[in-house]
Symmetry: C2
Subunit: 225 residues, 2 copies
Amino acid sequence: MSELRQIHLKESLLKANDFVASTMRDRFGSQGSFVVNLLSSPGSGKTTLLEKALPKLQERHSVLVLEGDLETERDAERIRGVGVRALQMTTGGACHLEAHQVQQTWERIADDGPWDFVFIENVGNLVCPASYDLGEHLRTVLLSVPEGEDKPPKYPKAFHSSQQMLITKVDLLEHFDFRVDEVERLAKELRPDIDIHHVSAKTGDGVDAWIESLLSARERLFAAS
Amino acid sequence: MSELRQIHLKESLLKANDFVASTMRDRFGSQGSFVVNLLSSPGSGKTTLLEKALPKLQERHSVLVLEGDLETERDAERIRGVGVRALQMTTGGACHLEAHQVQQTWERIADDGPWDFVFIENVGNLVCPASYDLGEHLRTVLLSVPEGEDKPPKYPKAFHSSQQMLITKVDLLEHFDFRVDEVERLAKELRPDIDIHHVSAKTGDGVDAWIESLLSARERLFAAS
């Protein structure tokens, strides 16, 4: 029997995050909360989509939004402006949310629930948030038409680690060289089973279908458990 | 006389970067190279602007582009497509470029110069690159109209640390609620002396004025030294 001589600690930070995330996922599930982690570049339309979709979802379900930003409470204020409960989490300059931040936030708000749906709007950044599990049940990456069709291969982890992709601002398609089928092909190269929706928060196109996909995913989760 | 008892190493990584960056800035200057570090979100139009501007700049000056990306050589290929020398630096997933990467790249390409202008296109990320000096003479942050006017206060370091801001894709202004004067006000709250230009790589508006600003900045640098 060999004696333990050395432990590599390089990945310990990420592993601690995974431990917290896994614990939180169980806790969210046991409290009936379906949790969505929204990832995208700055300005892809995460907040605008939530402003459009959540008042509808809230007609039949309780909804909470946790807003992640470097600074300011602007996004939480926008969400509250459409009558949805929102809590701002500012990272003080850090480029992503971590599971322990969600855990500490949850300790302070879980009792105000139960919350059927919790949306975590991550820091606007297509790189770093992809490496941090927050305990979500669904990771949704947004790609807006103005950003261009080359983003999946250039930011592979964000697309590979997401179960769902929303192509946003599709009302602008006529103004851009953006081939939807090419973007879908590139995303599916990274994740063949990715669930793709096209939405426009401006016209409302695709928003109901996205809400339906969330209701179905929540039903599947709690039917299975 | 007190004895040295403790050294705080927390910031040592950033300080090593600053040391390399400062050394490189001197080296670039002594070789006649004016270096621009371009920062923005993914899809703000950095590569498209360079494709439009650099062939003009190259009529009278030697130009080199260093492309920073997580993965792929797509952007370097686009720059080469307009006849400009470009070298791809892939970070293998890291969210920003660091000065030592630029230094190692420079060792391999400086002798092919002299280069009057070197453009470093950073990883598409409005957060992390703002913390890393690459030895540039000018840091330019791009904000595209579709991203929305709230970005300066939400990503303050990117705007505070940049001497120049380009509002890009201004041909799209009619399709968005984007008040140029409000964005300028927000950026100037973070950096009162920031030099602001409005450009459209699509129509060409503002591109010549931006090139002029680079020529003037280079002249000022080498007149002073």
